[in-house]
C-alpha cells in the first residue's frame, strides 16, 4: 500500500513538473434546430485533440441551447466554478456578443470557432479574443467580388432582417460593383419564400445573392428549384454546408458558394483531417468542423510554445498561429482575425453524395474591413 502511494505521489509530482495543462470551456449549441453546427464544431475540436494524442487539454462542454442568457450563465459558471483558462465554442453572433466582452474583460482567452461579429473585429477588439474562422462579412464580400468577376451586371439580394442578415448584405455591397436591382429583407425563421421568389422572377436580375442560414436556406432552395425561375444563385457557405446539403437535395446542384475552406483543399493537414473525420464520425465534415479542428490545433500549438500561467506569452504564441491549418497557411491580422483566401465552390454530386468543389478563388489574402478600427498593433 505504501509503495502504491509513493508511486502515485511520484507520478503526480512528475506530471506536475511538466507544462501545465489547459482547461477549456466549450459553450456551443447542442440541442434544438441549430444543433448541427455546434455538434460539428465540437466533433472537429475533439478530433484534433484525439489526433494529437495525449494532450494536456481538459475539455468541459456545455449546451447553450442557442439562448443568450443560458450562454452568459454557462460562461459565468465556467469562469467562476470550473475555473477554465480558455473559452470557445459559440456559434451565433448574438450569443458571442453577450459572452465574449465580459469574458475577455475578466482576463480569459476566447477562441472563436465560428461567430465573427464586426463589433469584436473593430472598435471592441481585445487582445484576449482570437477568431479562428472569419469575420462575419468575409464570405459575403467574397460573393460580391465573385459576382463582379462572373460578369453579373445586376443582382437581387436578400437576407433575414436581423444584424447578421444586414451585415451580410452590407458585406456583399462593399465589394460588388454592379447594380442592385432589389434589396429584400425576410423575417427571421420564415420558411415560405413564395412571395420573395415571385419578386425575383419579376426582377429580371442577372443573379441572386442570398444569405439564409439553416432551415431558412433549405426551404428557400427547394422552393426556388421548384419554381422554374432560372436566375443563378450565389450565397455564402452557410447555406451549403455539408450538414445541410443532404436535406436540400438536387435543388442545390450547381449553386455557387463562397467559403474559406473546402474538403478538396489540397494540403496534407486537410487531407488527414477529412480522412480521420470520416473514419471517426461516419460523415463528411462541414466547414464548421474544420473550424473546430483548427481552433483546437491553434490552442495546441500555443501550448507547445508557452505556459498558460504566463498569459502574455501565451497570447503571443496564439498570435503566431504556428500550426498546420486545414486551410494551409494561416495568419492573424492585427485584430486577431484571419487573413486568408476565400474560395468559390460549386455544389456537385460525388459518389452519390452532394458536396462542394472549389472552382476558383474570389479573394486572396483577404483582411476584414474593420481591422483598421482596432487599436491593437
Amino acid at each position: 500500500m505504501r509503495k502504491l502511494l509513493m508511486t502515485a505521489a511520484a507520478v503526480m509530482l512528475a506530471t506536475g513538473a511538466a507544462a501545465e495543462g489547459v482547461k477549456v470551456g466549450m459553450i456551443t449549441t447542442l440541442s434544438g434546430g441549430g444543433a448541427g453546427l455546434g455538434i460539428d464544431v465540437r466533433d472537429g475540436f475533439q478530433l484534433a485533440l484525439q489526433m494529437a494524442g495525449d494532450s494536456d487539454v481538459e475539455l468541459v462542454i456545455a449546451d447553450d441551447q442557442q439562448q443568450p442568457d443560458v450562454a452568459v450563465q454557462l460562461a459565468d459558471r465556467m469562469i467562476q466554478s470550473d475555473q477554465v483558462d480558455v473559452l470557445t465554442g459559440i456559434i451565433w453572433s448574438n450569443l458571442a456578443m453577450a459572452v465574449v466582452p465580459a469574458a475577455v474583460a475578466q482576463g480569459k482567452i476566447y477562441l472563436s470557432p465560428n461567430a465573427g461579429p464586426s463589433a469584436l473585429a473593430g472598435a471592441q477588439c481585445n487582445e484576449n479574443y482570437f477568431n479562428v474562422a472569419w469575420q462575419n462579412d468575409n464570405l459575403h464580400e467574397a460573393a460580391g467580388a465573385h459576382a463582379n468577376e462572373a460578369g453579373y451586371g445586376s443582382m437581387f439580394i436578400l437576407a433575414p432582417n436581423y444584424p447578421a442578415g444586414t451585415d451580410a448584405l452590407t458585406g456583399f455591397k462593399r465589394f460588388y460593383e454592379g447594380e442592385i436591382t432589389q434589396e429584400l429583407y425576410t423575417t427571421v425563421g420564415q420558411t415560405d419564400y413564395a412571395s420573395e421568389i415571385a419578386q425575383i422572377r419579376a426582377s429580371g436580375a442577372d443573379a441572386v445573392f442570398f444569405f439564409l442560414p439553416g432551415g431558412m436556406g433549405i426551404s428557400f432552395m427547394k422552393q426556388y428549384a421548384d419554381s422554374g425561375v432560372e436566375i443563378p444563385l450565389i450565397g455564402p457557405a452557410f447555406s451549403f454546408s455539408q450538414d445541410i446539403l443532404g436535406a436540400v437535395g438536387d435543388a442545390a446542384l450547381g449553386v455557387i458558394n463562397t467559403s474559406q475552406w473546402s474538403k478538396d483543399l489540397d494540403n496534407p493537414a486537410n487531407q488527414a483531417f477529412v480522412e480521420n473525420f470520416v473514419e471517426a464520425y461516419g460523415r463528411l465534415p462541414s466547414l464548421y468542423a474544420s473550424q473546430g479542428f483548427d481552433t483546437a490545433n491553434l490552442l495546441l500549438s500555443a501550448m507547445e510554445k508557452a505556459d498558460i500561467s504566463d498569459q502574455a506569452a501565451f497570447r503571443a504564441a496564439l498570435k503566431e498561429a504556428d500550426f498546420d491549418s486545414t486551410r494551409g497557411e494561416f495568419r492573424f491580422g492585427n485584430n486577431n482575425h484571419p487573413i486568408q483566401n476565400i474560395y468559390v465552390r460549386e455544389v456537385i454530386m460525388e459518389d452519390g453524395v452532394l458536396t462542394n468543389r472549389i472552382v476558383g478563388t474570389a479573394l486572396t489574402d483577404h483582411q476584414d474591413a474593420y481591422a483598421a478600427d482596432c487599436p491593437l498593433p
Binding site: 420558411t191 415571385a198 419579376a202 426551404s219 421548384d226
Partner: protein, 306 residues
Amino acid sequence: MSAMLLIEQALNGLQLGVMLFLMAAGLTLVFGVMGLINLAHGSLYMVGAFACAVVAAHTGSYLLGLAAALAAAAAAGALVEIVVIRRLYDRDHLDQVLATFALILVFSEGTRYLFGSLPLYLNVPAALSGPVMLPGGIAYPAFRLAIIAIGLAVALGLFWLIARTRLGIRIRAGESDRQMIAALGVDIRRLYTIVFALGAALAGLAGALVGTLQSVEVGMGEPVLILAFVVIVIGGIGSIKGALVGAILVGVTDTMGRFLLPQIFATFMDPSRATGVGSALASMLIYILMAVVLILRPQGLFGARA
C-alpha cells in the same frame, strides 16, 4: 409592379392559407369538442413530416410517405390522448397548457434522439415538380397548386363529415353539451380519441406537405403552432368554417404584407430604412390583425357568443 406578380402573390397567400387551415382545423376541432388547448399539435405536425421523409426515402414512393404521415400522426395522437390527455379533460386550461407544453419537450428531444439533429431530406415528387403554366402566362409551381387542391379537398371532406355523417353529428353535439351526449349513450371516450386522432392526422398531413417544400427538422412545428392559434382565434374557436376563413385571411395578409409593405414605405422613405421598417411591420401584421379582430369581435369571426 405587374398584375401577374400580384396574382402570383395572391396564389401564394391562398396556398399559405390552405396549409394553415390543415393545422388549424385539427386544433379547432379538439378545442371545440373537447375544450382542450393542445400545445403539442405542432409536435404532431413534426411527426407527420418525419414519417413522410423516412418512408419516402426508404420506399421511394411519395404517396406511401404521405400515407405514413397520416398514419403515424394519427397513431401518435391516439397514443397521447389515451395516455395523457384523457386525464386532463376536467382540469383547468392551465394544467392542459402545462401538460402539452411538457409533451412538446418530450416529442422534440425524442425525435432528436431517434433521427439526430440534422434536417432530413424530403423533396417534391418528380410528377409534381417544376412549374405549370397558368392562364395569363403565370408560371406557378405544380406542387403548390397540388397543396391548394389537397387543402380545399380536405376542407370539403371535413364539412361533409361534420354536416352529413353520424360522427359529425356527435362532434357537433359534443361541442354544445358534453354531458348530455354521454347521458344519451354515446361513448365519449372513443369519440374523443377519434377526434384527437383526426386532428393529429390533419396536422401530420400538413407537416408532410410543408416539409416537402421547406425543411424537415426538429422544432419545425412551433412557429406554425403559433400561427394556427392565431388562425383559430380569428376564425372563432370550434368552427371549421372559421378556421378556413381565418386561415386564408391570415395567409393572404401575411404574404401580401411582406410583399407590399416595404414597397409602400419605399415611396416616402429611403430604400434601406423602408425595407427595415416594412419588414418589421410585416412580421407584426398578423398579430395586429388578430388584436383588431378580437377587439371588434371578441369571440372571433364565426365563434359562438360566450
